[in-house]
Symmetry: D2
Subunit: 479 residues, 4 copies
Amino acid sequence: MGIINGKQFIERLNQLNNEIWYDGKKIEGKISEHPAFKGCMATKASLYDLQNHPDLKNEMTFQLSNQHEPIGMSYLQPKTKEDLKKRRRMIEHWARATHGLMGRSPDYMNTAIMSIASSASILDGKENCFPENILTLYEKAMAEDLSFTHTFITPQVNRSQTYIELTDKPISARVVEENEKGIIIQGARLLATQGGMTDEVLVISTPKFYKHDESFAFSIPSNTKGLKFICRESFVGGNSFFNHPLSSKYEEMDSIVVFDHVLVPWERVFFYNQFDVATEFMTRSSFHTFGYHQVITRQIIKLEFILGVAQLLVETIQVGEYPHIQEKLAEIIIGLENMKALIEKAEQDAEIDEWGYMCPSMIPLQVASILFPKIYPRFCEIIQLIGASGMISIPTEADFQSTNKEDLQWYLQAKNQSGENRVKIFRLAWDLTMSSFGTRQTQYERYFFGDPVRLSCSLNAGYTKDCFVEEVRKFLHLQ
Amino acid sequence: MGIINGKQFIERLNQLNNEIWYDGKKIEGKISEHPAFKGCMATKASLYDLQNHPDLKNEMTFQLSNQHEPIGMSYLQPKTKEDLKKRRRMIEHWARATHGLMGRSPDYMNTAIMSIASSASILDGKENCFPENILTLYEKAMAEDLSFTHTFITPQVNRSQTYIELTDKPISARVVEENEKGIIIQGARLLATQGGMTDEVLVISTPKFYKHDESFAFSIPSNTKGLKFICRESFVGGNSFFNHPLSSKYEEMDSIVVFDHVLVPWERVFFYNQFDVATEFMTRSSFHTFGYHQVITRQIIKLEFILGVAQLLVETIQVGEYPHIQEKLAEIIIGLENMKALIEKAEQDAEIDEWGYMCPSMIPLQVASILFPKIYPRFCEIIQLIGASGMISIPTEADFQSTNKEDLQWYLQAKNQSGENRVKIFRLAWDLTMSSFGTRQTQYERYFFGDPVRLSCSLNAGYTKDCFVEEVRKFLHLQ
Amino acid sequence: MGIINGKQFIERLNQLNNEIWYDGKKIEGKISEHPAFKGCMATKASLYDLQNHPDLKNEMTFQLSNQHEPIGMSYLQPKTKEDLKKRRRMIEHWARATHGLMGRSPDYMNTAIMSIASSASILDGKENCFPENILTLYEKAMAEDLSFTHTFITPQVNRSQTYIELTDKPISARVVEENEKGIIIQGARLLATQGGMTDEVLVISTPKFYKHDESFAFSIPSNTKGLKFICRESFVGGNSFFNHPLSSKYEEMDSIVVFDHVLVPWERVFFYNQFDVATEFMTRSSFHTFGYHQVITRQIIKLEFILGVAQLLVETIQVGEYPHIQEKLAEIIIGLENMKALIEKAEQDAEIDEWGYMCPSMIPLQVASILFPKIYPRFCEIIQLIGASGMISIPTEADFQSTNKEDLQWYLQAKNQSGENRVKIFRLAWDLTMSSFGTRQTQYERYFFGDPVRLSCSLNAGYTKDCFVEEVRKFLHLQ
Amino acid sequence: MGIINGKQFIERLNQLNNEIWYDGKKIEGKISEHPAFKGCMATKASLYDLQNHPDLKNEMTFQLSNQHEPIGMSYLQPKTKEDLKKRRRMIEHWARATHGLMGRSPDYMNTAIMSIASSASILDGKENCFPENILTLYEKAMAEDLSFTHTFITPQVNRSQTYIELTDKPISARVVEENEKGIIIQGARLLATQGGMTDEVLVISTPKFYKHDESFAFSIPSNTKGLKFICRESFVGGNSFFNHPLSSKYEEMDSIVVFDHVLVPWERVFFYNQFDVATEFMTRSSFHTFGYHQVITRQIIKLEFILGVAQLLVETIQVGEYPHIQEKLAEIIIGLENMKALIEKAEQDAEIDEWGYMCPSMIPLQVASILFPKIYPRFCEIIQLIGASGMISIPTEADFQSTNKEDLQWYLQAKNQSGENRVKIFRLAWDLTMSSFGTRQTQYERYFFGDPVRLSCSLNAGYTKDCFVEEVRKFLHLQ
């Protein structure tokens, strides 16, 4: 056992036969062949192949002392700063292979599993808590190279601060029953990206208000009875790579997860009906820290891609001489370098946590998590501002195969590019920032870490300012 | 003769049989039935019907003294401030019927024809100039209620300030020959919105550099031999109004216009091979002033729609209590009120121009033309910020017709809205700001008036500041 | 009786002998000769002279039917739109004479007196209310051309939303006693601009929480026993107009007003101990509307001055060729034109109010009141960005009178200006935006209308959006 | 020989008797006692004392192998990353002692001397170049702990891009003669901060256009014959620390430096009349890199001070509960953490340069140099936004010593602060951001590194993007 390859991933998923609904129909047949999923499945498969590639295997896997099969590096519990850098290199490899556009590359959830396993002992000895089940899952995930999705967002009838859901019939998923086999979950959760395209679904529910029955955590196979994924409209623009270079490969799909009386067996429950535990687990564990480390690494690669696209556009239409264009490129460079400096500082300032693992410093990661949702939409805007009306002149692959080819090659030529290449480049810029796929990416990154106001308030609340205030007080001789 | 209705418009267009290429294929059959065009055609038809509606006919048409058929109000040459207000009311009616989302409602180009006719005497007595042809066209347009498109943008191999195209074979359309029948045009022009969906194509070409053969103006039927429209990818999301409430109705299509040795008969030529005339005609005529008046009126209606959508979102998810949400709504209100105040000032300060027509004041319109391209993208962003992750949870009409309907109604319910209504509202917000249709709207508005830096420089250059400087000099007793 | 001139104003104020404390000392002798006040007093005197100037008297005064002495136009109760324009012209004259830099030119408070008199009947028949005293004051103010200050801000131990002051000894001024002569006020109020430099002090107190004893309104002479003005540090930079062209003339001073057991005679009380009345009086009367009309008119003149200074700087150092400089000037032009369009719309949309006066439309004024506090600091920044390091190279008048004069003339010369003129221009730009006087102006304008978040929320709350929402609902066929 | 203390510094400067002109008068007597200079001189003296303090001597000095007197750490030529950190610690100590408000603490120019000495060999064997003189100066500077100023800005008759000064009589300082003793300089240079308050003046002149006679570099004593410093108006608000806590200590003064036929002896000349050398020396030497390292370190300490002041204000008026206030604090934290991450990355990525010294990585420093001029003015604005109207209510020390003390203590009290403390805190916030001293600080930081547009263009030009473009090209299979 140990790492899988792309073929194994595809086969395993096809066999699961998860209940996925798309555009009013239940998906029958292989998910890897469904138009809305096949691009993403193929891309994920290529990532699994990547970790088997002889040139990279060394950086994509590690050896557990008690085993001789290689394990995915994303499962590595770091004990040194060098381990952190190893983890970063692995994340970069996968991110680079998808230009940072696949938010749910395998390392994202693998990191989550690794981190909750590392902090599992928080649950030791507490009522309704089963830390051993987390460790078992971690072992199994490593051994079988499992894939996961999760869902963080609860349905909200309204988003008013004071709203509390009080219906008898659950809206947000909650524990409605427990019996000798396990707990029964009823209700829904929103926005499981790649929902149905993974082996398992991890759910960690930490309600806003003091509600025991909404406080639970577990992981179950995606094909568990009663579990249903209802997809949104697909943003795959079509099969043509020429026309939709990004959505044809990276559209990940989001789905609503419905729990219709789903039984979670006891051996799969991490904790339940414990509001305080749920809150503590989220705030004290290393879940966020390692998670942020993965996400921000991926986002940096995405910025490199953005910068590459922006620069290629500038070269194509020869606008590099304009100071305002240079300033816009500099803006992207500044964002990129800021993010790089922050992740490196997080690693430099890493410290051994209470469980013995090398944990990155959280403050620089928090700063990056506030920065990125602001700069990413702005950089997409910059690409639109550079491309200007060219972002709209986008004929298709078929046009270049028709009798109009010669006209298009001639009339759309750029200084150093044929008309066809120019259209390819602009279609890429369009798919990145203006297609339904591109705007979903923007919205996804904008809200990835949560509400921006809350993020800022939380950074401020956790930041030690006493020393600086004290300096001022001393200077003014305040008593 | 006089105003037409929707049916007449559709029939006339279908008969023209213009050469339109879409996705590598020449469109055969009725354009009004082609998936990429039918929504827009139907909407345009409804606008023509609107001017025949008994309740509105009075405000949508006027009577020429020598004729008893009503003429479209967009052709009215205003002689009083009241005429300007009449024009505005007509524009508002058509804009409101399409929420300001149809940039090329008939009044847009009708206004252009009216304005060049009003200033045609600029061309009197000049070489290669035929002002009488403009007047003839204006008469014909009124009599037959013709529809037009035009193209302003030239293909650019590069956008460097100093680049001059020097190929033998034309890229930008130019006059390559003249004979007893007329002038021959060869080359391309970009971005004819609704290209192929109108009776005629108006071309006014004013090159950046001193190039006589790129300086010309004319109007010809869309089905003129050698004239070809190559479309971009369609942004119609599909037939379902539920799924794509806007793109199914308002997607206007943009196309590249290729002139393959096109003969423009002498009686259709306004001027040619006259660089100075081309420049003067654009800067001195009332073309821009009346054009801006039409566009800005439409944009104001669009802002009202944006405000309606934003407020409906706020009510749906009950976030009106948050000060930052209230500030965002106030931001839209401020933009809307600014635009309204500016158009009213332009009308209040209107003056009779050198040809005897009541011409709005240009400065407030210029200010509005710089303001709108900045606020429109921001207001789209505001809608995304209000909608947050809800902008991604968008199941389809088919989902609400499947067995999942009950689940979706329940889990997606809003405080005062069923799940279905909530999804309708979010899909509208998404189609307005995040679908390929929506982002094309944003880019279109952003660049409608041209390069923003140039717009600002031009406002500054034309604005009289001497009096203010003089006040300062006097205050400081400078000699 | 009727309008006074500058000399009368100075003499009356000197005779009052108000209790003003400056830098730890009670001011003895004539206030018009005190270094911290003489510039402002002289400027105010020049404004009173202005209304007597034969060229302007017609526009600065009006005739009451029952009197033959001319009355200051700022006291005119407008009954027609033409009256509103007359009021605006008067405000513009005074503002232009001070470049909009004197926030408390006489028209500001005269307008306040006029507006509360116009709405006085709100108080009719209510307990503890004496509308007749307002009317008497209005008559007296017109007859004697009285000058006023007022104070809006209460001392706040803290600004937390939920803080309520509960000390026994008043901090905020409140009614501590009433007897046969009147009411006794004890406590303080903050930020009376020109406090002590006016004939009277108007106080309208509308507490945040339901506190009767902090709800009152009256006007008393500035030299009333127990009334004390404690000034802040003066921002007069010195006597030299060359060195401090603005602060030497326009520094208005702010003061804390202390009420030490001050008796307000019954005939001076408008209302007291009536929380609901205080709230209604502020929200329903035309106090804000006419006040905004005055302030925004002044602010527009100030923007013209800013534009003049910016343009003069640009010409002096010849940076007009840079697009980013042109964009900055355009930014100021846009701000100025927006404000102008808004005030004109407010006048165009004016309507007769419930008391028979022609009241400007509030929405455009509110929009302007949110806009100005944002653009004014930005425009000051623009001036700093244009001036760059030149804003720091500012030798003094004495330098130009020393043996270094020739060196400075030579080394500091500008293309079309002597070194001395260049320094004069930069010192003006500096005094406007960077001196203590200039930054106080910025802060004053930024907070003139109150907390910006509250202003936006209030605009949003009062703005009718139902029609726009309804359009959207109809479009989506929502039930 | 070696480091000096404060007393030695004061005495040496007083003896120099430099020719300084202030407000039209030549300064006679001790500069350390002149009102415009004494605060700054005393503060500088305290910095020299600091390096002698037993607790810090170890971190503020180092030992040269051939000498036993300690040398100021700012002269250390770093050979390892640890040396870089030592340098940073030294800079931090001095910056912290002045809250980062003294731009020209001794380390600033000492670093410049160290860096040009380190790269002196660039000049080896070139015409009119004397690298040995740089080394001699470096030795002398270390031995005597000399203080320096320099001037970068040339007088500019206009700032148009194409302007070339062509007068016979020099405006910008240039070489007008050379003889056996040295070169003769005539003309002026602008903005020598602390001009006249240092032992020497370093001049490195690198003209914009190809002008040999404006290309030179040297250092001469401040009291050299013909050298004259003409000061701007002083921004010292007064002697009272209570009233002007910052300007009374940190106002550094800027001056115009006039060279009236100044002889620079050959042994003081580094190079002259060599345009290419001047340009190469600036771009290739480590002057900018080490300089940026010093400046950015100081700016970080300044941000800590800003954060302390902001937080103290928030606590004083109890506004910490408002999300928009928390966001503003978070904005400062983000700026601070970004800057910290960048300087650490510059050190982490440091490499041995061509002369064998450990040179920080330039890119992160450049990014920081573009960031800081944007965030610093914004953070000053944030302080004004937090302080609101309280920034204007600023009575003086004398007021608190008058009979009004009790009133002021009572009426201006804050939740946890007496009225006096509250005023102290607000006066500090005011002096930092709104006094003439504070706004000069803002302008100084805004332009410290030069024109922001140029900085961005230069970052973009020097940034390697090929790899990112190549990734995109490969992805699109472009040939």
